[in-house]
């Protein structure tokens, strides 16, 4: 039978099938962080169940961490307590932790790929819906709830129904200034926020084949925003070159054996998907969102559409936008470049290339938050930090930051923020904050101009 990439990886991890029920799926790597793990540790402890495979778990602190003065004790009591709990739980259970200040610390979905923890053909989970990011490597990776975190702690397995398959094909040539973020925002705007629910998505076509690993991670990251538990891209030379030589990547004979296997991980010709979509790359423009879910996206030059339903109107009222309005020249006082979607080196290179030789707009407060300590270091090594500083920007320390505003990085009520993150939900970046999702290029341009500009004019 012809198999999809997803079938190949999934089937290789099924321990057992329960009659009329779910399958027991083996999990290779379990990533944890401070927010969704404490109750799972507590549950096991209460029931006297040991952690089954502690060496297959890697922990980081990211959601709740400050992005300034990380060498000082965390000010917020609850945050400090949650971080201390993670440290205690990891020590007690012999789990590797890249905590605050560690040279490998960073956002879980930035840190694991850059260390070579994420590899093709694996199954990976984390108590975080953006675990779909790791699918960029041809890995089955998805977010789980805390009860499932406890299940993986106890058995290194999960009970799951095999999801249906979906393939999104994008072929053709992308226009200048159209970045991976625009591609995924375009797909979600076209398909809606629940098109992928119940499915695992494969992204195929020359657009993804030609993308860097950073770009592929941006795309797979937002699979959950169209409802798909995960997204995958078949591993190829770009993937292998990225993985090779990283800290925890296989080496020597092990690498050769793995490579031979990884090369088999593509969808067989003639394999059938439950659902399939095709898009032309030439139709994609730089994108922005105007509403309160990631499906409410338009080309930057388009007008806000008109829909007559209560949820749509509630959303526009929250954003203080009108039907038919253009967002060009919309004044914006906050810009956030960061999050597990866009905080990798390539994202800061794009921002720096636009910012070089220009000055930050006076009305703008901008937070540039690298995804990890390693990304931060690379920004300095490549001289990008100098570009940012000369323009009036200051780099912060790594973490999830204003993507979900669990720490002090909150956008004030009523303010607009052009953000490279993944969710524009009500209050996501702070109570009453109004989020406009965009690429790092559009975000950088907004930070320079103090308003949304038609970036396509500058590029053509």
């Amino acid at each position: 039978m012809k198999k999809t990439l997803f079938d190949k990886v999934w089937d290789a991890h099924v321990v057992k099938e329960i009659k009329d029920g779910p399958q027991i799926l083996y999990i290779d790597k379990h990533l944890i962080h401070e927010v969704t793990s404490p109750q799972a540790f507590g549950e096991l402890e209460q029931r006297g169940i040991p952690i089954f495979r502690p060496d297959q778990i890697v922990a980081t602190a990211d959601h709740n961490t400050p992005t300034v003065d990380q060498h000082l004790p965390v000010k917020d009591d609850l945050s400090r307590n949650q971080l201390a709990e993670l440290t205690k739980n990891c020590e007690k259970n012999n789990i590797t932790l890249y905590g605050l200040g560690h040279k490998y610390n960073g956002i879980v979905h930035v840190m694991a790929p850059e260390l070579g923890i994420t590899q093709p053909g694996m199954t990976m989970v984390c108590g975080d819906s953006h675990t779909s990011t790791h699918g960029a490597f041809g890995t089955i990776a998805f977010g789980i709830g805390t009860s499932q975190v406890a299940q993986v702690f106890a058995s290194q397995c999960l009970l799951l129904q095999k999801p249906k398959s979906l393939r999104v094909n994008v072929n053709g040539k992308l226009k200048p200034g159209v970045l991976p973020k625009d591609v995924i925002l375009y797909i979600i705007a076209k398909l809606g926020t629940n098109a992928g629910t119940g499915y695992f998505c494969e992204y195929a076509g020359n657009v993804f084949e030609e993308m860097s690993m950073e770009g592929r991670m941006t795309v797979c990251n937002m699979s959950i925003e169209m409802g798909a538990r995960g997204g995958m891209i078949a591993p190829d030379e770009t993937t292998f070159e990225y993985v090779k030589g990283r800290e925890f990547a296989p080496k020597g004979d092990d690498l050769e054996n793995k490579l031979a296997y990884w090369k088999t991980l593509s969808t067989d010709k003639g394999a059938v998907f439950d659902k399939e979509y095709h898009f032309d790359a030439a139709d994609i423009d730089p994108m922005i969102t105007y509403g309160t879910n990631p499906g409410m996206g338009i080309k930057i030059t388009e007008l806000i559409p008109s829909e007559n339903n209560a949820s749509f109107e509630k959303s526009l009222a929250y954003m203080n936008f009108e039907k038919g309005q253009s967002l060009i020249d919309q004044k914006v006082n906050y810009v956030f470049i960061g999050s597990c979607t866009n905080s990798r080196i390539e994202d800061f290179r794009v921002a720096a290339s636009f910012i070089k030789g220009k000055k930050k707009a006076d009305n703008v407060t901008a937070w540039f938050v690298p995804g990890s300590r390693q990304v931060a270091q690379q920004i300095v090594e490549e001289g990008l930090n100098e570009v940012f500083e000369n323009a009036g920007f200051r780099l912060r320390q790594p973490g999830c930051s204003a993507c979900l505003a669990m720490n002090d990085d909150k956008i004030p009520e009523g303010e607009y923020c052009v953000s490279t993150s993944n969710r524009n939900f009500e209050g996501r970046q702070g109570q009453g904050a109004r989020t406009i999702l965009a690429s790092p290029l559009v975000a950088a341009a907004t930070a320079i101009e103090g308003k949304i500009i038609d970036i396509t004019k500058q590029l053509n």
Partner: protein, 195 residues
């Protein structure tokens, strides 16, 4: 986990689509290290104004609507995987959420906490909203064994799907951990086969 078999209750209508888990429980309340007490902040930013005063326009603050069934618009529970959303709903006293569509992760999290997600056709969801609008006290019966939901005032019912394994778990209060651990021999054999 609580057992669930059958429930009859009046219901709280929330006819909003794409209710995400950031609305159900905002991120700033995720700093706790236990599962308790999240009900207090369920729909926090819809229930309360920023100064902490009650938003009397929000449905949970309307005394007319009471009960342990929440009836919500399409694509309920999208967004973040935070199980805190299911804990908040459970802690508030809601045992059933009815919608025409649920996000995957939320659905799983609800089932793992004894909260039953009941997915019905959009037309039937509309019928429920209309029945509640007509009479806020109208009772809705949810029978897990028969996989059937009934609006008492109109006697209109509909069947709903649930995975047979999850149904057994819910009816008996079992969770997945015990089941997985009981398969440890096979899990270890699987690990050996790949080494």
């Amino acid at each position: 986990m609580d057992k669930f078999t059958k429930l009859t209750s009046s219901a709280i209508p929330l006819p909003i689509e794409n209710v995400d888990t950031d609305q159900i429980i905002p991120a700033r309340f995720l700093k706790a290290t236990s599962r308790e007490g999240f009900g207090e902040n369920l729909f926090r930013d819809w229930r309360f104004h920023k100064d902490g005063s009650i938003n009397s326009d929000f449905i949970l603050n309307n005394e007319k609507y009471q009960g342990s069934i929440l009836v919500a618009g399409d694509n309920f529970g999208c967004g973040s995987s935070r199980e805190h959303a299911a804990w908040a709903i459970h802690d508030y006293g809601i045992k059933v959420v009815v919608s025409s569509f649920f996000a995957d992760i939320f659905k799983g999290n609800a089932l793992n906490n004894g909260v039953l997600p009941v997915q019905v056709a959009p037309e039937y969801l509309k019928e429920i909203f209309e029945a509640i609008e007509k009479d806020a006290k109208t009772h809705i019966e949810v029978d897990l064994e028969a996989q059937k939901i009934t609006i008492e005032s109109t006697n209109s019912s509909s069947n709903f799907e649930i995975n047979p394994y999850k149904k057994t778990c819910l009816m008996n209060g079992y969770d997945d951990i015990d089941f997985l651990i009981s398969n440890k021999t096979e899990i270890e054999a699987f690990e050996m086969s790949r080494a």
